[in-house]
Amino acid sequence: MHDQNKLWRIALYGVLLYAAVYYLLPLYVMVTTSVKSMDEIRAGNLIALPMSITFDAWTKAWATACTGVDCNGLSGYFWNSVKMVIPAVLISTSLGALNGYVLSKWRFKGSELTFALILFGVFIPFQVVLLPMAQTLGWFGLARSVAGLIFVHVVFGIASTTLFFRNYYVGIPDELIKAARLDGAGFWRIFFKVVLPMSTPIVMVVLIWQFTQIWNDFLFGVVFSSGDSQPITVGLNNLANTSTSVKEYNVDMAAAIIAALPTIVVYVLAGKYFVRGLTAGAVKG
């Protein structure tokens, strides 16, 4: 009985470690490939450790790699993404917090219906709004601009940020709001003095969720931007799929890591909130 138990534990750890290798392998390959030279890549194999480390591929990916006609690397795309992601995240999160507050604590006739309407926006396949949005952005002079992308991400981010905040605020006891109203506080004072100070966890979850979503978006980027307004995901895809004569896998991998770095850093620093965001709403049972 005891031996059987021990065997079972060993098998258990074996499977779990094997799975860890499976998840880590691509990351390992990306990193090692990015510091190899092309000669070494051709001579060696996928999982061999680099014999000598060179950061040429990194500098090339950042500054000189070709992404189509231009050969300025990913740096421009990277900064486009930064310029896009910060306002888009802040605006969509703020709107979500206010919506959630109203939908949970200041319900009025018709607010439930409004919530249901907004909620459906979480689920629509965005393909269905691409064509009208492209046209509309053109009318407002926002086509192919970072501002246009910010607008699109805010509009289609509202649904999930509202859902997150609303579900969190439903859990704040109504009695707290009643007490504050008896204490003479109004709509805004209750929000800023009572509700918002209690919201740190959900604010973190939503900020990280929105950051990850918007940074990693490709669909809106590729449809609504061009040239010098494209975000990093589009830049990476252009770089990796540009048909140059020689495929430089080390540059591709360095570029992929550059594109992934911000979200990886966030994941490492605040993984707890990231996981909470992913599982929020999905687990009720």
């Binding site: 319900r107 393909q127 109004g186 990693n216 895809n237």
Partner: protein, 299 residues
């Protein structure tokens, strides 16, 4: 409902502020979600090609769509990809969650490792797997170096197999997510149920199979819903990994829609295919949302 069940509101501010605060989001949603769906629906009944053209053509674009071989490849690929992606991701995620639930040392680290792909863009994932799966220098060469020189692995450039590379990368990215959902569900199960079953003499696999997993039915359905939703919307991964190729062998509805609407000057067909995608998602989501909302109202 003649009377509304909510807080009493006094004065102009309390009565109108909540509505005012909600108004921008409400209007944005109304216009940019529902208005645009209607607009796109309208486009799908017009002769639009490179540019919008509001000449009414009835169902002609849908006829073109259904007569298009490439569209059917995309639908077939969606079923292959969706089925394997959901099945594989589910199986792997549940297995890892159950294993991780056995009071594992270093659980936190393992969990972090399993889930990090979820933080990546599908474009990054696609680029990485494209390199590893490429027949020249990737996995194939590795296995050759190990001495199995007859080994071939050319799925990425093989029209019959290219969609399966998307499955591999998709499962890699999403199975950790399934694990996280089920692990959270497992942790929510009352310990005393398991203890009671142990006292009844049930073996561990039996306890999981008969008691724990059935208790996770709601998690199962939520996960199924989310994965199905990811599958139908998946665009980035295919674009980065295969670009829909070779040829259009690994096209999925999302890439088909993009190509029709934005690169091949068939806006009407693109709009029609987007409507079909919406209908598919709605068929899955609406019943789910309905039961969820009804459930929460009763709770």
């Amino acid at each position: 409902m003649t009377q509304f069940n909510g807080p009493a509101q006094y004065g102009f501010a309390e009565r109108w502020l909540p509505r005012l605060v909600l108004a921008p989001s409400f209007l944005l949603t109304l216009v940019f979600v529902y208005g645009f769906i209607a607009w796109n629906g309208y486009l799908s009944f017009t002769a639009s090609r490179l540019l919008p053209n509001y000449e009414w053509v009835g169902l002609a674009q849908y006829e073109t769509l259904f007569a298009n071989e490439r569209a059917w490849v995309a639908v077939k690929n969606l079923f292959i990809f969706g089925g394997l992606f959901i099945g594989g991701g589910m199986a792997m995620g549940i297995l890892l969650a159950v294993f991780l639930d056995q009071k594992i040392r270093g659980e936190g680290v393992l969990r972090t490792l399993y889930l990090y792909p979820m933080a990546l863009s599908f474009i990054v994932t696609g680029t990485a797997w494209k390199w590893m799966l490429n027949p020249g220098l990737g996995l194939e060469k590795l296995v050759h170096d190990w001495g199995f020189t007859s080994f071939t692995f050319d799925w990425l450039v093989n029209p019959d197999m290219s969609i399966y590379t998307v499955v591999i990368a998709g499962i890699w990215q999403s199975s950790g997510f399934v694990m996280a959902l089920f692990l959270a569900g497992l942790r929510g199960i009352d310990d005393s149920i398991i203890k009671a079953a142990q006292i009844d003499g049930a073996s561990l696999p039996r306890i999981y199979w008969r008691i724990v997993l059935p208790a996770l039915r709601p998690v199962f359905f939520s996960t199924l819903m989310i994965l199905a939703h990811i599958a139908i919307k998946s665009f980035d991964l295919v674009m980065a990994l295969t670009g829909g190729g070779p040829g259009f062998s690994s096209d999925v509805p999302a890439t088909f829609m993009y190509a029709s609407a934005f690169t091949r000057g068939q806006m009407g067909v693109g709009a029609a295919s987007a409507m079909m995608m919406l209908a598919t998602v709605a068929a899955i989501v609406v019943p789910y949302l309905y039961s969820e909302l009804r459930g929460s109202r009763n709770a």
